[in-house]
């Protein structure tokens, strides 16, 4: 419908202005987007697209909202294989190696032409680009990106005689502070835990933070080698186990990702590690004074980044690719990125975004919004390999086996490493 109207308008315009030459037809773009239809995000994305279309009347964008990251990838790839048009998509940043294996995407370095475009490509936070690069080229542009931060209950800190403005910054402090925050009833049952780190849903993501804090990464940039059995990585898992077993500041066993936020809001845990994506919900629902802090560190600070990148599909005409590039540039421009960040809680993707008036003001009135940005200095890539789904599951299973006491950390990680090595051998 929109297309017809716009074409009519273009026709009318050309008639009025007396153009007799051919009016170039509107370039049509189909973009797959990983969010459920009717979700809160669709309105924001729709609004941004509309603004883009007003600025670029010769480009017509259709956004297809395709569920979660996995669904969006499956649907976009299915559309491509069946010959349906799809020029670009936001997909999981860690899909990069598999999308390249499928020969589905183009490198942005081959698409940018002008100096201004090249400058744009260099304008993002380097930490956010780590998951978008392979073989020296950029394949994904950061957009819907998050990281892990520590939420803590300032009231609980006060009640335990701790300084609410001094959240723990090291592993030792984290365990010590956590111990003081554990509250038990007369029968010795725990009423409030010191901290919770979720270990379902995305255990590999949480673990990447612990590994980075211990000075280790989980894989190489090419995504064909993993380091699960390095001593430093195993030590990180042992620390995670100890939080439950030795220090008893966290329940033993697996902690559910889906209900963790509720646990924090109901003050069943005084601290939690969770995605920045929860910030707005926690802000709106916490009945107590809360703070947001960088994750504590051992050898260094650290957290993996997460979330979705823009990709441009290979199977499009040069004209479509140019239009798609324009759209990506628009969506990630400082002003749009700032607007997006404030509306959603995702990160502003470039330093320039945080220099806009919108985000400057927002950070001033709500300082927790800046924590994710400040932590980017210490951030690392999210686990991304070839055969990513399988490799992720090897690691997830190993982490859960260790956390539930089925296996020692060393044995679990050595097993996971052996399995990962087996499936990655073909890509070396």
């Amino acid at each position: 419908m929109r297309t017809t109207n716009k074409n009519l308008a273009a026709l009318a315009l050309s008639a009025v202005l007396g153009f007799t030459g051919a009016v170039s037809a509107a370039t049509e773009l189909t973009m797959y987007y990983p969010v459920a239809v009717g979700g809160a995000l669709t309105k924001i994305v729709d609004g941004m697209i509309e603004e883009f279309e007003v600025q670029n009347p010769d480009i017509d964008v259709t956004a297809i909202y395709a569920g979660n990251y996995n669904d969006a990838r499956v649907k976009a790839l299915a559309a491509l294989q069946s010959g349906k048009p799809a020029q670009l998509s936001v997909m999981f940043s860690i899909d990069i190696h598999e999308l390249r294996d499928l020969e589905a995407i183009d490198a942005f370095d081959d698409l940018v032409k002008t100096d201004a475009e090249r400058e744009w490509l260099d304008g993002f936070y380097p930490a956010l680009m780590e998951n978008g690069k392979a073989d020296g080229k950029t394949w994904g542009i950061p957009f819907q990106r998050s990281t892990i931060v520590m939420y803590y209950n300032k009231d609980a800190f006060r009640a335990a005689g701790l300084d609410p403005e001094k959240p723990p910054t090291t592993w030792e402090e984290f365990a010590a502070v956590g111990k003081k925050l554990v509250k038990k009833d007369a029968n010795g049952n725990v009423e409030q835990w010191g901290a919770m780190i979720p270990s379902t849903g995305y255990p590999y993501w949480m673990f990447a933070a612990l590994a980075k804090q211990n000075g280790e990464v989980l894989m190489n940039q090419a995504g064909n080698e993993t380091y699960f059995d390095k001593p430093g990585v195993i030590a990180a898992l042992e620390y995670w186990q100890d939080l439950g077993k030795k220090y008893a500041i966290m329940p033993e066993g697996v902690i559910e990702w889906g209900t963790l936020r509720q646990n924090f809001l109901e003050q069943k845990t005084a601290m939690m590690w969770h995605s920045t994506g929860n910030l707005t919900t926690v802000k709106n629902n916490a009945s107590f004074d809360f703070g947001v802090a960088k994750l504590p560190g051992k050898k260094e600070l650290g957290s993996p980044t997460g979330g979705g990148n823009f990709y441009i599909f290979k199977n499009s005409s040069p004209q479509e690719k140019a239009a798609a590039l324009k759209l990506v540039q628009f969506m990630t421009s400082p002003k749009q990125a700032a607007h997006w960040s404030k509306a959603t809680g995702y990160m502003g993707v470039s330093p320039a975004a945080y220099q806009t008036e919108i985000l400057q003001d927002y950070v001033k009135t709500f300082p927790p919004a800046a924590v994710a940005r400040d932590q980017l200095t210490y951030a690392t890539a999210e686990l991304a390999t070839h055969e990513a789904g399988r490799v992720r599951k090897f690691l997830d299973d190993a982490l859960q086996a260790a956390l539930t006491g089925q296996m020692s950390a060393k044995k679990a990680m050595e097993d996971a490493q052996a399995q990962a090595r087996r499936v990655l051998r073909r890509y070396q």
Partner: protein, 290 residues
Amino acid sequence: MNRRLNLKAWLLMLPALSLLIAFTHWPTLKTFWRSATWAKSDVAPSQFVGLENYGLLIEDPVFWKVIENNFWYALGTVPTSIALAIAMALWVNGKIKHKGLLRLAYFTPTILPMITVANIWLFFYSPDIGLFDQLLRAVGIDGPNWLGDPDTALGSLMAMTIWKEAGFFMIFYLAALQTLSPELYDAAKVEGAGPWRIFRRITFPLLMPTTLFVLINALLNAFKLVDHLFILTKGGPNNASNLLLYYIYETAFSFLDSYYAATLTVVMLVALALIALAQMLLFDRKIHYR
């Protein structure tokens, strides 16, 4: 004449048959074929590898784990939900007040969508803040981490499944009970049979056709119903609650390995066909049809 009749019959069957072939039989055949091929990626041409994928299957510890889990899951949910269904049906079939309300109450879990139910039970099972742990705490017990402990995860899934399924099966038993002739019961009473004897000698044997139907459905469901895994455990921790169909989904859509997924699917198809066949052959002779 006969020929024309034949043609007509085929024509009448054509719509249903073409749908069945297009969406059931053809994909099944393709699945079998796919399980015997392999390609490096979806863009590369696939090659015939014979039984190689099945060799991988035998070496795959997760495969054996999901088979074992599925066995316990079926054994744990099917007989219990059938027994519960019979008990509930007998109870709401008797002469009691507010029969309609009671029947509705038992049927409610069936009306709710599985995903909704799982989301609610996720909070029931949640450690500390969950309903079950709060109830246990009230009597002074520190409840377990139901879904987070490999020892209780599968059992927790089974409990929810029984709760969900029993009401559904009750409806079939209720319908069957109402077709039983009251004369049989009058005769039994005249002979002085007690309630247990009446149930064992009259009600239960006459319900056998229903039991067979329910049994097949329940067993198939034990393999087919995995919606709640997406919400509750995602098969974790460490595959403690993983089931075959969920593993197929993971393989196909998370690992993007359609060849191995096809191999797993073949195993599932064969298993289901064997179960249905065995039940029909074993029970058919023992069942009293009128």
